[in-house]
């Protein structure tokens, strides 16, 4: 193998890796902007493969078409979708404490078997405490017995009864939970009049060391009267008494336990602020992570978008990992269709491989110049016929799938359409009045006047100031 062959192999491997990496990146990333770019990378790297096959024209066409096409797609996603930077989904993953690669992906985690049974990191401790609290809440009726148990556990905490470390940990945590419950109740007795129930729920939403304890302590009094309600993970304003689908996006409604009145009361703003601080804390804690999400994009795009997201995250924080999992399942865009799409792509790949292996190529005439449409047509009908037919087939399947999905969407009952674009204000600031024609005389004159003024100012100032802005 000489140097030239080696180089070709290297280029081929790099291009192929980029193609596959781009495809994977598109399906796995949570930022729509990044997904569009990954697809672009995938298709441009494919152009590199074309160059290796000495089909320069095809390569250039590939780049030209796909850069423009993917760009339009990306821009539309950024303009129309709610969370183009992928912050919300990513934040959710972060809260589910999925490490490493999985935290960056759309990949569905396995169902959590038992919460925080193995490791004893502070986060899992918190979850555990939360879960214990939830358990106690369900058994509100024998609350007094719990209290008694807590009193016993206060002793048991110092000298644990069991030798099994997991079990000991559990006991200690249980005791801590109860103690905190008491502590909060005591604090509340001291600080606040008993009418201010509900605000404690909000305390549980920021990242403190006792996430849900304070809320548990209070909802002990309120949860008996307030029923559990269902809400949409994407649209927290949607509420329902029974499970079903969200009228806006069609996702499954998820149950929310706790008092309904808290989020509707005047403490809304408070909760939003705390949630934001919690999010900030969460994102800064992952340090030099390669990607930080983009809530700024949302708040930049529309006024209500950020608030929506805050509420969603706020409602999320009350959930244990199982609840997160259920919500993720509801939010994943390809729950049922993913398997079908996988099967279809495998079948298509097999058919293509079969055709490429079995069908005889048309002979190509070597006399033709590389530069010219005849050559392209020749190449299309000889070397790349199967590839192009396959691509056409895939596109056709995509169109059919889109139509099917659209029909399914239309059959769904929709109450009212709410346009998010209306609230976004992404047009450029207008310097002039609308009716002023472009480059009109007065405008130009104004410009010149300003120019003159600047010039005279700069001439008056010491030399060197004018050169600062040109790098």
């Amino acid at each position: 193998m000489n140097w030239n062959d080696l180089l070709q192999w290297i280029v081929f491997i790099v291009c192929a890796a980029l193609v596959l990496g781009g495809a994977l990146g598109m399906t796995l990333t949570m930022s729509m902007y990044r997904a569009g770019l990954s697809l672009m990378l995938c298709l441009v790297a494919m152009a590199g493969l074309f160059v290796l096959l000495e089909a320069d024209m095809l390569a250039v066409i590939q780049v030209m078409m796909n850069v423009g096409g993917m760009l339009v797609m990306t821009l539309f996603m950024v303009m129309l979708m709610q969370d183009p930077g992928g912050e919300m989904m990513w934040d959710m993953k972060r809260k589910m404490q999925m490490p490493g690669f999985a935290a960056l992906s759309m990949f569905m985690p396995p169902k959590p078997k038992e919460v925080a049974s193995k490791n004893s990191s502070p986060d899992s401790l918190n979850q555990m405490v939360a879960q214990n609290g939830a358990k106690m809440k369900m058994t509100q009726t024998n609350k007094s017995e719990e209290m008694k148990m807590a009193a016993q556990n206060q002793d048991g905490m110092i000298k644990p009864s069991s030798s099994d470390p997991h079990r000991r940990l559990r006991e200690i945590q249980q005791a801590m939970a109860v103690m905190q419950q008491q502590l909060v109740a005591l604090e509340e007795e001291l600080d606040q009049p008993p009418t201010a129930t509900g605000s404690g729920n909000m305390d549980g939403m920021h990242h403190s060391n006792q996430p849900n304890m304070s809320s548990q302590g209070q909802s002990g009094s309120s949860a008996q009267t307030q029923p559990t309600f269902y809400t949409c993970p994407m649209h927290p304003e949607v509420r329902s008494d029974k499970p079903g689908r969200c009228p806006k996006c069609g996702m499954d409604l998820v149950p929310v336990e706790g008092s309904d009145s808290s989020s509707g009361s005047g403490s809304d703003e408070h909760s939003g602020h705390q949630t934001m601080s919690g999010m900030r804390q969460a994102s800064s804690s992952d340090g030099s992570g390669s990607m930080a999400g983009m809530p700024g994009m949302i708040s930049g795009a529309g006024g209500d978008g950020s608030m929506n997201m805050d509420m969603t995250v706020a409602s999320m924080q009350k959930r244990d990992p199982k609840g997160y999992y259920k919500m993720m399942e509801g939010m994943a865009m390809s729950t049922g269709q993913l398997k079908l799409a996988g099967i279809f792509s495998v079948i298509t790949g097999l058919v293509l491989v079969f055709l490429i292996a079995r069908v005889a190529w048309l002979p190509k005439s070597p006399a033709l110049d590389l530069d010219g449409p005849t050559r392209v047509g020749d190449l299309l009908l000889s070397d790349y016929m199967m590839a192009f037919e396959g691509a056409a087939l895939l596109i056709l399947a995509g169109i059919v799938g889109a139509v099917v999905l659209a029909r399914r969407e239309r059959n769904r009952p929709q109450k009212k359409k709410q346009s998010r674009i209306a609230s976004t204000n992404l047009v450029a600031p207008k310097h002039t009045q609308d009716n002023t024609p472009a480059l009109s005389k007065p405008y130009l004159q104004n410009f010149r006047v300003v120019q003159k003024a600047v010039a005279s100012y700069k001439a008056a100032s010491p030399s060197g100031t004018t050169t600062q802005e040109v790098g």
């Binding site: 770019l37 110049d369 992404l426 480059l439 700069k458």
Partner: protein
């Protein structure tokens, strides 16, 4: 075949990029100074020729900003990708007779296709910094891409029709008797406007607008990355002028009447910098266009004119 000459070739292209980018920066400095009504003698001696170098070193001593909550992958790679992309296109510039990095058969098409990603990198830079101005700059850069891509594509079809090739070498050689600016003045004008859009120069510098977006896409860069991006943008401006020279002004060939009393590469450089100076000077005389005005200009005026140009060129090619 891979050989040492090819490596040298690539290094020569890299050197050429650095040199022309430097002089483009200097030319831009001079024109900006003049446009502000200040005499060139007020620049640091000698005539500010060392000024870009000083600014570069000054910038290189600055700290590399680390943004909080930015999309670091996009933000950091953007200048590098932009520079590499422009470097690739410099390989197809015909500097002189048989003085070309690589004469591609689809050279002109390559030029168009590869420069699309440069705009994308500008969008990445703007989006990656995760600020409101950045989002605006992203959309503005996208609008620029939509404006110039079709227009410039139709503008360069004219020379391709005349020369019947996409290879820049052949297009230059075909202008031996008459330059295409004589046959297609309309196409030349359209190319100039589109090239101004494509190089993000005034009056089409909306994604970088200092007075509106506080620097837009480049606002958050500092240090080496900023220098690299500036270098790439300056090289891009020269590249567009050079391609314009190759397409419409006879490339490396001397003036028709005077004859080639200068070396061919010197002719090419002179013409390119002359065209660049014309483009930049025109830009500095005009106020910045809004996005809608720019899109209207591109799609309602330039595109029909470019189509008309194609018809005219067809008639000329058939009957003259």
């Amino acid at each position: 075949m891979m050989s040492w000459t090819e490596v040298l070739n690539a290094l020569a292209v890299l050197g050429a990029v650095l040199v022309v980018a430097y002089f483009t920066a200097y030319l831009d400095l001079c024109l900006a100074t003049r446009a502000a009504g200040v005499s060139l003698t007020s620049l640091p001696k000698p005539l500010g020729i060392l000024q870009p170098l000083c600014i570069t070193f000054n910038l290189l001593t600055k700290r590399d900003n680390r943004l909080a909550r930015a999309d670091h992958l996009l933000f950091r790679t953007a200048p590098i990708v932009a520079f590499v992309t422009i470097l690739m296109v410099f390989g197809i510039i015909p500097w002189g007779q048989a003085l070309i990095g690589r004469d591609l058969n689809v050279g002109l098409f390559f030029f168009l296709a590869i420069l699309g990603p440069v705009t994308i990198t500008l969008m990445n830079a703007a989006w990656g910094q995760n600020s409101k101005n950045g989002v605006l700059a992203t959309f503005r850069a996208g609008a620029i891409l939509f404006s110039y891509e079709i227009t410039i594509g139709f503008a360069i079809i004219g020379p391709v029709m005349e020369a019947q090739s996409l290879s820049l070498e052949k297009i230059v050689a075909a202008q031996h008797s008459i330059w295409y600016i004589v046959l297609q003045p309309l196409g030349f004008a359209i190319y100039l406007v589109a090239a101004l859009m494509m190089s993000f120069r005034p009056p089409f510098d909306i994604p970088l607008a200092g007075s509106e977006l506080a620097g837009g896409a480049l606002a958050e860069y500092s240090g080496g990355r900023f220098v690299l991006y500036k270098l790439a943008l300056n090289a891009l401006a020269f590249l567009l002028a050079a391609i314009g020279v190759a397409l419409f002004l006879g490339g490396w060939q001397g003036l028709p009447l005077i004859g080639p009393f200068l070396p061919d590469w010197l002719w090419f450089l002179l013409k390119s910098f002359g065209l660049l100076a014309l483009m930049l000077w025109c830009g500095y005389q005009l106020p910045r266009l809004r996005v809608d005005q720019m899109l209207a200009l591109a799609w309602k005026i330039l595109l029909p004119l470019a189509l008309l140009n194609i018809v005219l060129v067809g008639i000329v090619a058939l009957f003259v």
